[in-house]
Amino acid sequence: MVLRMRSLHLPHGLERLAALTCFALLASAALAQDPFPQLHQDISNNRIRIAAADFKPAGSDSATSAEKHTFDTVLFSDLQNAGIFDLVSKSMVPAATPGYPAEINLAQWSSAPTSASMVAFGNFAVQGGHVIVNGFLDDAKNTQFPQVFAKQYNEVASDDSARQIAHRFADEIIFRLGGGINGIAESKIYYIKINGANEKEIWEMDYDGANQHPVTHLGTISMSPRVSPDNSRVAFSALDLRAGFTVKMYSLLLGRAVAFNGGSNSGAPAWSSDGSQLAFSSSRSGHPEIWVSDPEGRIAHEITNFGSDTSPTWNPKTNAQIGFISGRSHLPQLYIMESDGSGVQRMTDGGYASSPSWSPNGQFIAFAWDRKYGPGAPGGQDIYVMEVASKRWIQLTHDEGRCDFPTWSPDGRHIAYASSAGGRAANSRIMTMLVDGTQKHALTGSGADMPNWSWK
């Protein structure tokens, strides 16, 4: 550019002026094309690289190896599921299994190919019918003060206790390194198990799909399980031959149903996060509306009056807002309102919305949405997350069949949902993913539906 200028034999000052003008034009063009900073916070850039060593067997009991294997596997998958770690694959971990801080050579772990910045290790013993686990977390990059924490666990020996200890140890690691994220490894998921056409029972499993077992044995069709914030009760709706679907309450502590005055034709219960109120849908006034009562079903009052309102979900952060699905404008849409029924806002602009679930931090609502619903508009029902303040949304599932019933993990970083390939209810299985739609995997086989993640 400048060379060509010289060939024109411009006067010196004029030549410089022209060169400057050209540069300014080029620079402004470059600025205009400059990409804006990425809107998406790239989590993978910031993940902590952590290595989970196999724990060193410290006892001579024959049960050690089987339970130790359970422990190692569960710990590894817990850390992987957390979504905040870049976990070192087992094949890249050094061969040595350190059992105590004195035995570990951190330089070996922090150098390539392990390149770990954190190392979880320890020893595992079964002595006198008890599992004794010493777990350590070391900062491999901090040579002066490597130890982050040390924990000892002592439980009656069983495969389940080895699993629970691994969950607790993983939760501790996530809590320390995640900046105050409460681990979810001890949380449970309640769901509906389909046993044929006329029997659907409530089941419970660990957050990772292990330990699946039934909770209720009612021999009828149960739906929409919602566990209370203190994990003591499950509210659900069950088919009653005289009254249709009614909201019922099951005590996990007593192991039996307890009284709840839901009235006839009620369903879709939802707990407020303080456990003092229950919102549900009831047709006692003639058409389905949102009602709020106390946990025993007393002092119930109606807070909507437009017809066809259902699926309430509380804002768990404030308990001052309720999201719900309403058919007041033909097809079901997502709405929010204050918990006294005022200030109704429509959130979705079309399609067929269902099953809202408000995120623990109050910022988002996850829901199922078929954006092109109707004859001649082949749309799939997928899971979406909408930011409440801005009404902007993202789609989290694609092309995996009919997805429904999203539910947030207590840390707000995961969503479990039901996915049925081909749209058949019997094929439905429970899946989990991170809230950005990554790390999807199935927790159950087919025949499981309507998951509800416990509050802690």
Binding site: L31, D34, P35, F36, P37, Q38, L39, Q41, D42, I43, N45, N46, I48, M118, D139, K141, N142, Q144, F145, V148, F175, R176, L177, G178, G179, G180, I181, N361
Partner: protein, 260 residues
Amino acid sequence: MAQALTIRPPGGDKFGSGLTLAIILHIAIAAAIVTAAVVNPFNLDRWGGHESTEGAIQASMVDALPLPPKAVPVEKSVLVQPDVSPAPAPPPKEATAAPPKETDMLIKGKTTPKTAKVEAPAPPKHVQPTPETTKATTGSTATQIPQSIVQNSKGQAALTVQDHVFGQRYAYYFDAVQRKIGENWLGQEADPRASMGKSVKLIFDINRDGTPSNIRVEVPSGSPTLDLSAVHALQRVDTFGPLPAGNKQTLEDTFTYHPQ
């Protein structure tokens, strides 16, 4: 009687021959000058002549100037002595006898009284308060380097922990703090044209339970939107997790805006 008077000098007319001689002599001198100019019998150098060789100036580059050799100083010569002759020593002072002491003089009837030496009592020691200095009492006074630097899509953030020892002991905690702020920093809140390459320094406290408080801008970047985006990033954080030790920790965080 008409008579023509003619005055004639007695020696005859000599003026005419002298004039003739002067004219001949002048002509001869002029001819001699012209002849000399044409013939150039002395072949003198002529500056500015038309010959190509004549008048050229030659300059030859030499390594050293051909200076005359340094003359060896003549030792004997008094005038060219290189060494300065030493100044003559001052004349020695005349020794004077010390005046006699009083005791040396024996004066009849006068003796010096002998008195015991009295010890002065030591002044009482009071505990002196140490003066307050502005110097840091913990850590070193050396320049603080950032505890950790995180690069992300919005730029980089460097975190400095005020308490040096604490920062080293719980490095993992501040990495987590750093990561959490980075996750909550939305670069699109800052105007890219005004903020490019600028950085803002914030100071904030972390309470015992991990909640950030007292967020303030220490060094503004000059781009108000960048300053606000950094403050918002901290305000979005609910908790960093409880402090590993202590009740409060003050941190300094630098947000530098340069999206890749």
